[in-house]
C-alpha cells in the first residue's frame, strides 16, 4: 500500500478520518441505503394493498359475482372460480409432467450431457415472456378450438409452471441420499419401485414446496390468460367457456373509472398478495424444518 506511514501512535485503532477508513465507512453506508431502498417498495405495496383492500374483505367478496359499471357492491366470486379452474388445470398438467421429467433428470441421467441440455432448455423456457406463452396457446388452442376458454388459460399457465416445477423437483430429488436408493435396489426393487416407493416420498416435502410456490405464482399471472381465458362477467358452467380470473379482474378494474370496481381491484390484489405471502412463509417453514 502506497500510503503506508510509520506508526504515529501505537494504538491499533483506526483513525476514522483516514481516507481509506472514511471511504470504507461511506461505502458501507451506501450499501445499507441500497438495502433500505430495496425494501421500501415491498413495504409500500403491502401497506397500500392492505389499507385499500381490507374494507371489502368479507363474505360477499367470495359469494357474489363482479358488478357491472356503476352498480354497487358485488364481489369476486366468479373471478375466484375462474382462477380455481385455470390454476387447477395448470397444476394437473404441469405437476405430473414436471415431476416425471425431474425423475428422469435426477435418477436416470444425472450429470450427463443430456441432463445438462434439458436443464438448459428448462431455464431458457422459464425466461420466455409470459405474454409469448399466451400468444403460443392462442395460436395452438384458441385458434384450433375456435373459442377462448378456461382450458386454454390453464394450459398457458401450465407452460409457466412447468420449468419451475422441473427445477424445484429436480433439486428436491437430488437431495435424497443415494443410500436410500441403494438400499431399495439391494432389496430387489425395480427402478419404478425405487422411485415411486422410496425416492419420491423422501423428496415429497421439497416437491410440494415447489408446487405451492408455482401455484401462487400462476394465480397472479395475467398476461398468459389475457387472450386465452379472455374474461367473463359471471359464473361459468364448464372449462370450455370463457372465464374471468382474479388477475384479469384486477387488471380490468384497475383501469376502469368506477370507484366500486377500483375497490374490488384492491381487494383482489389483497387476496393475491396474501396467497403469495402465505405460500412463501409456509415454504420457508417447510425448508427450515427439513434442515
Amino acid at each position: 500500500m502506497s500510503d503506508s506511514q510509520p506508526f504515529i501512535s501505537r494504538s491499533l485503532h483506526r483513525n476514522p478520518w483516514a481516507p481509506r477508513t472514511l471511504f470504507s465507512n461511506v461505502m458501507t453506508g451506501l450499501a445499507i441505503a441500497c438495502a433500505v431502498i430495496a425494501i421500501v417498495p415491498l413495504v409500500a405495496v403491502l401497506l397500500y394493498v392492505l389499507i385499500n383492500g381490507v374494507s371489502r374483505l368479507d363474505l360477499n367478496l367470495f359469494t357474489q359475482v363482479q358488478p357491472p359499471p356503476r352498480v354497487l357492491n358485488g364481489g369476486l366470486g366468479n373471478a375466484l372460480q375462474g382462477t380455481l379452474y385455470t390454476v387447477g388445470i395448470a397444476t394437473l398438467l404441469a405437476v405430473p409432467f414436471g415431476v416425471m421429467a425431474a425423475v428422469f433428470l435426477s435418477e436416470f441421467v444425472r450429470d450427463t450431457r443430456l441432463a445438462r441440455w434439458i436443464g438448459f432448455a428448462t431455464n431458457v423456457l422459464s425466461g420466455v415472456p409470459s405474454i409469448v406463452a399466451g400468444t403460443f396457446i392462442y395460436s395452438a388452442i384458441v385458434l384450433t378450438t375456435k373459442t377462448f376458454s378456461a382450458f386454454s388459460g390453464g394450459v398457458a399457465l401450465a407452460i409457466l409452471m412447468l420449468p419451475v416445477i422441473v427445477r424445484t423437483a429436480t433439486e428436491a430429488l437430488e437431495l435424497v441420499p443415494s443410500e436410500l436408493r441403494q438400499a431399495a435396489v439391494g432389496l430387489g426393487a425395480t427402478r419404478f419401485q425405487t422411485v415411486a416407493g422410496v425416492v419420491l416420498p423422501a423428496a415429497l416435502p421439497g416437491i410440494i414446496t415447489g408446487v405451492m410456490l408455482s401455484v401462487a405464482r400462476a394465480a397472479g399471472e395475467t398476461a398468459p390468460v389475457l387472450f386465452t381465458a379472455l374474461g367473463w362477467p359471471t359464473w361459468i358452467q364448464n372449462i370450455w367457456q370463457q372465464t374471468n380470473t382474479l388477475s384479469l379482474l384486477v387488471y380490468k378494474f384497475a383501469t376502469a373509472p368506477y370507484p366500486n370496481q377500483q375497490q374490488l381491484a384492491w381487494a383482489g390484489s389483497l387476496l393475491l398478495v396474501l396467497l403469495v405471502l402465505v405460500t412463501n412463509i409456509l415454504a420457508r417453514f417447510f425448508i427450515r424444518r427439513k434442515i
Partner: protein, 317 residues
C-alpha cells in the same frame, strides 16, 4: 463388494421379461417427459413463427423499422414498440443495477448477523413473488402521483434537455422504467449474491491479511472475481424486463410513438400484444404474432447468453 457382470445379469434374468420391459418403459416415459420440456420451447418458436408468416412475407424487415400501426389500412410496423421495449428496460437496468449489486454486497458480506440477514434476503425474494398486475395497480394509484410531481419539477428546471422535454401527464416511459426496476431488482440481487458468496474465502483472507480494508477487498478482489456472475444476473434481469407485460401496460400510456422525452407516453411489444390481441383479426393477428416472435427471439438470445455466463460461474464453484 461389487457383483460380477454375470451375477448382475442373473439377478436381472430372475425378473420376468414383462416386469423388465415395464421398468424400461418407465425410464423411457420419464425421458419422454423430460425431452418434452425442451420441446415446448421449440414448439413455441415454430408455432408463433408459423402464425407470423403472412406478416413476415408482407412486411419483411420493414416491420422492424416502420412506425405505422394502422389496422384500417392493414399496414403494420413495430419500431415504436421495439424502441419502447429497449428504452424502458434500459431505464430499469440503470436504476436496478447499482441498487441490486449494493443489496447483494450488503447481504453477502458479514455486515449483519445471520439472524437479521436472512429475513432481509427473504423480503427481497418476496419482492419478486408479488404479481405483476398488483405492481400495475399500485403504480397507477400510488407511484404515478409521486413520480408526476418529481417529473414536473425536473421538466421545469431541466426541460431544455430532450430527455425531460415534455411535461409529464401521468403514465409514461419513466413510470414503466421505475416499476420494471422494482420488479427486476430481486433477480439482480439474488444472482449477484450467489456469485459473491461463491468467491473462495481464501481470497478475502489474503486481501485482509495484506492490510486492505473491507471495501478495498470488495472492489479489487471480490467484485472482479464475481464479475461474470453479476453480468449474467443483469442479463437475466434485462430479459425479464423486456418481456414483462402487465405492470408496464398499466403505466406506460400505450401511445404508438417515439419521443426522446422519458416523460412522454410510449408502448412496448408486450403492451402492444396485451392491448390488441383479443380484438384483432386477419393480418393484424399475424402482425402481432410477428411482434411476439421478435420479442421471443430477443429475450431468447439474452436469456441463452445469460444462462451460459451464469452456468460457467456455477461450474467453477
Amino acid at each position: 463388494m461389487a457383483l460380477s457382470n454375470q451375477q448382475v445379469s442373473e439377478i436381472k434374468r430372475a425378473r420376468s421379461p414383462l416386469a423388465r420391459q415395464l421398468d424400461n418403459g418407465f425410464v423411457w416415459l420419464t425421458g419422454l417427459f423430460a425431452v418434452g420440456v425442451a420441446l415446448v420451447l421449440v414448439a413455441i418458436a415454430i408455432r408463433v413463427g408459423w402464425e407470423a408468416l403472412p406478416a413476415i412475407q408482407q412486411f419483411g424487415v420493414g416491420f422492424l423499422t416502420s412506425s405505422r400501426w394502422d389496422p384500417v389500412e392493414d399496414i403494420y410496423g413495430a419500431l415504436p414498440q421495439i424502441y419502447g421495449t429497449l428504452v424502458s428496460s434500459l431505464i430499469a437496468l440503470l436504476i436496478a443495477m447499482p441498487i441490486g449489486i449494493g443489496v447483494a454486497i450488503f447481504l453477502s458480506e458479514d455486515f449483519l448477523p445471520n439472524k437479521i440477514q436472512r429475513p432481509i434476503v427473504f423480503m427481497v425474494e418476496l419482492l419478486a413473488a408479488i404479481p405483476s398486475v398488483v405492481y400495475g395497480l399500485w403504480g397507477i394509484f400510488v407511484l404515478i402521483p409521486i413520480l408526476r410531481n418529481m417529473g414536473v419539477a425536473l421538466n421545469a428546471g431541466l426541460g431544455w434537455i430532450p430527455l425531460f422535454s415534455t411535461r409529464p401527464t401521468g403514465p409514461g416511459m419513466y413510470v414503466a422504467g421505475v416499476i420494471l426496476a422494482i420488479m427486476i431488482l430481486p433477480i439482480i440481487a439474488a444472482i449477484s449474491r450467489d456469485a459473491l458468496v461463491a468467491v473462495p474465502p481464501e481470497l478475502r483472507q489474503a486481501s485482509y491479511g495484506l492490510g486492505a480494508t473491507r471495501w478495498e477487498t470488495l472492489f479489487k478482489v471480490i467484485l472482479p472475481a464475481a464479475f461474470s456472475g453479476i453480468v449474467g444476473g443483469i442479463m437475466l434481469a434485462m430479459g425479464r424486463a423486456m418481456g414483462e407485460t402487465m405492470a408496464t401496460t398499466m403505466v406506460i400510456g400505450n401511445a404508438n410513438k417515439i419521443n426522446p422525452s422519458l416523460f412522454d407516453q410510449g408502448s412496448t411489444i408486450a403492451s402492444l400484444l396485451a392491448n390488441q390481441f383479443a380484438e384483432a383479426s386477419g393480418l393484424q393477428i399475424s402482425s402481432l404474432m410477428y411482434a411476439a416472435f421478435v420479442l421471443f427471439l430477443i429475450t431468447l438470445i439474452v436469456n441463452v447468453l445469460a444462462e451460459l455466463v451464469v452456468r460457467r460461474v456455477r461450474m467453477k464453484v
